[in-house]
Amino acid sequence: MAMATEAPKDRFRLSMLVYDTRYRAVTIQVIVLVLVLMGLSWLFNNTVQNLALKDRDFNFGFLWNRAGYDIGQALIPYTNNDPHFRALLVGLVNTLVLAFFACLGATVLGVVAGVLRLSRNWLVARLMTVYVEVFRNIPLLLWILLTYVFLTETRPQPRDFRGEDPAATMWLDGSMVVTNRATNIPGPLFENGLGSVPALGLNVSLNFLAILAVVAASIWANRIVLWRARRIQEDTGRRPTTWWQSLLILFGPVTALLWALGFHLEYPELRGFNFAGGIALDHAFTAMFVALSIYTGAFIAEIVRAGIQAISRGQTEAAYALGLRPGWTTRLIILPQALRVIIPPLISQYLNITKNTSLGIAVGYLDLRGTLGGITLNQTGRELESMLLMMAIYLTISLIISAVINVYNSRIQLKER
């Protein structure tokens, strides 16, 4: 009977560094690390030399100097006496607000288009295909420019709305108007408002905080209603009809609050040379919003369509064979599975929207890139610092969004062997 002996210990030879699998990985990594460090130090060295040659230093102090330029659409209070840092914040808020609304618009459009694309109606399905293919294959920048040109060149001037028999009329029964200067929509006014409170350098409106709180409470209350309904169904088998309860709970308190605050809409009116009242949306913003929504909507439509089609037909058939009606089949079987497939690429598209807001510079929309990477950079000449800071901010946003995708993915992973 042979005895198991220990493997003979080799004496260490230099060639083992390359050939022995135990050391090989370490050798390669060490070499790679050394090369990368060498490269980085070369870049760093060059930078230092170049800065010295141009007689500049590397610091971020310029952020606290006076900005000295105006920003047309500023959603937080800002004057040209504020420091560059505040201009940066204005730009960042502009970026995030545009991204938020564009994500919303794109999702709505994309879901509708994606579902309709699968419709049995031949005409509608073809139309959606045309929409998706046309918008996906033409650069976003072109759509932005086209929309902007459409708004600024073809829309009538404010004075065309004046008089007994005006050349142009407002939309939606006088509540909305698109001139070649801006888009004017109704704005909220509170007669018995609660006022606003300065905090964090912003004027935080207590009205909106109250509305937000009530809406949050309503949603939470609605969840309790649904939970209660589910318990009843589990116990007795019959699910109580909850839709009228949900409607009441979601919309009742908010409506009451708005009435108590004396909420009404202020409509834009022609005063003097332009429309005043309500909210005036800059054409740069509108063009970006419309173009981003429709362009990304086309991609989202494809994602939705692929997600729904990824669910094999057998799932629907099994559900039907068990006697489940189509509505329940979609809700209980198809949608949960489809969402798993749809949501990760959907969030990627949201990331794309956020990055694409930087195209606003083409139409003069002052987002983060327009303020920090544009005017501030040009005025202070601090190219290196501004660009690095800007890239760091974009990177942070995108890493946050990627982390969301990863968390979602790991939580809903289908368990397999």
Partner: protein, 496 residues
């Protein structure tokens, strides 16, 4: 009627043939009923859809029908439309396209030298064909024949038609289209009958294309090629003795030394001794679709080696390699392309040794290449993941080391699976080339259009340039995406 109840044995005597379905279930009426009006909701949708189509077409079609093709300025266009169709009516002014289409395609490239980009473009199809139609020889030859015919026609067109009209005088090198068409036919023959020699052309294409587009002495590109030859030679000589990794390292070092230091000393005297050069064209003359295609193709082709390394690195078990790969990829994918373009134009001068100065186009191409590498790395990673695990194990069990296994077994399959993703990335990149106008380059969308609009004759024109550029982009991108979808379908059946 057969009695197929229980216990009854039954045998059919004569088989029933096919019959046609009942009348209500055939033909146009059935189709209409099922597809357009199958339910009240569907009927409403159909009506809404039809209304939408009508609304869009009623605005667009009349405008298109009232087109003016022959005019010298926008004002003249408008006058002609008013004259022909009445007051207050607008029509499309395609005369601008007739006057300026060459700028949209070539930018400011010298008209007398238009044959060079045209030839480079035709040759690009020759170079790509083996990759796109790897198993389908017939499709490949059909494509290349079409390219030969169209390319030859285009060459004749630019030399005899376009250039003389733009320059006002006939071009001297009238023999060129003949010679070049013959060369194309010869190349077609090579592709058909000598596929292996043809691969040599594919390898040489990047250098040929560079030389055609930018011009200059032929010895420059030749020396670059010599560098690659040097690389191969050193690798062959040293690797048996020092091992694959060390041999590769030494080869790379030798090639880099040649390119950076020694090459200049050789090409200069060669040029003096045997002058052979094409007229040099400066990068700032590049514009329009020539610029977009150059940037796009160069970025994708150039980024492939790097993206393969990144994909392998991302998958690797080695912590440092993996971290570096992931870090690079996430960084590039996390920032907008505009910031990278601005890095190219503003910041690169900080990162490179003082007083190095090179072309903005080259700087942009470098950064777009890095950008493409990060996105392609993700695509290739997907391709690697789609490979069955058994392939890796089979390669290992055959005794192949890591790099041989990659080169011979893993990468060819992974790349083939990734081609649809690569084409998608290319389409996205191609659309993104419109952003280079923001760093001052002449892309077809904003760059050339602003040049056209700066001319007093065409000041104020806006729909027609956008429609022109949009249509061209649509045709190119849609064509590529259809090809990619067809390829994906074919790959799925292959890999079932």
């Amino acid at each position: 009627m057969a009695d197929t109840s229980r216990d009854a044995a039954y045998v059919r005597q004569g088989m029933i043939g096919q019959r046609t379905p009942p009348v209500a279930d055939r033909g146009a009426i059935r189709w209409l009923r099922e597809n357009l009006f199958s339910s009240p909701l569907n009927a409403i949708l159909t009506i809404l859809g039809a209304l939408a189509v009508w609304y869009m077409l009623s605005g667009l079609v009349p405008w298109l029908l009232r087109s003016v093709w022959d005019a010298d300025s926008l004002a003249e266009c408008r006058a002609i439309v008013q004259q022909r169709y009445g007051e207050g009516v607008t029509g499309a002014c395609w005369a601008m396209v007739r006057a300026r289409w060459h700028q949209y395609i070539f930018g400011f490239y010298p008209p007398a030298l238009y044959w060079r980009p045209v030839l480079a473009f035709a040759l690009m199809f020759f170079a790509i064909a083996p990759l796109l139609f790897a198993d389908n020889r017939r499709a490949r030859l059909i494509l290349l024949s079409a390219v030969t015919v169209l390319g030859g026609g285009a060459l004749f067109g630019v030399v005899y038609g376009v250039a003389p009209r733009l320059l006002g005088a006939p071009v001297e090198s009238g023999w060129l289209p003949w010679a070049l068409s013959a060369a194309l036919i010869g190349l077609l023959g090579l592709a058909a009958f000598r596929p292996r020699a043809f691969l040599g052309f594919v390898a040489l294409y990047p250098v040929i294309a560079y030389w055609l587009l930018w011009g200059g002495s032929v010895w420059g590109p030749v020396c670059v090629l010599l560098g690659f030859v040097l690389l191969a030679l050193v690798y062959r000589l040293l690797s048996p003795h020092l091992g694959a990794a060390a041999g590769a390292g030494a080869a790379v070092v030798a090639a880099v030394v040649w390119w950076l230091a020694l090459q200049g000393y050789v090409s200069g005297p060669l040029q003096a001794a045997l002058p052979a050069a094409l007229e040099s064209v400066n990068s700032d003359r590049f514009g329009g679709f020539l610029l977009s295609i150059t940037i796009g193709v160069t970025a994708i082709a150039g980024s492939l080696p790097l993206s393969i390394l990144l994909a392998l690195g991302r998958q690797s078990d080695m912590l440092i390699v993996k971290t570096l790969s992931v870090g690079f990829i996430e960084f590039i994918r996390g920032v907008p392309l505009i910031t990278l373009l601005f890095t190219a134009s503003l910041l690169l001068q900080y990162f490179l040794p003082p007083r190095t100065n090179f072309d903005i186009i080259l700087r942009v191409i470098i950064l777009v290449t890095l950008f493409a590498a990060a996105y392609l790395a993700e695509v290739i990673r997907g391709g690697l993941a789609a490979l069955p695990r058994g392939q890796y194990e089979a390669a290992d069990s055959l005794g192949l080391d890591y790099w041989r296994a990659q080169r011979l077994i893993i990468m060819p399959q992974a790349l083939k699976i990734s081609i649809p993703g690569i084409v998608s990335t290319f389409i996205g990149l191609f659309k993104d080339t419109t952003l280079v106008s923001l760093v001052g380059l002449l892309d077809p969308l904003r760059g050339v259009t602003s040049v056209v609009r700066a001319d007093i004759a065409w000041k104020g024109i806006y729909w027609e340039p956008y429609i022109l550029v949009g249509t061209l982009f649509f045709v190119i991108c849609f064509g590529m995406s259809r090809y990619s979808m067809a390829l994906e379908r074919r790959l799925q059946t292959d890999h079932r």
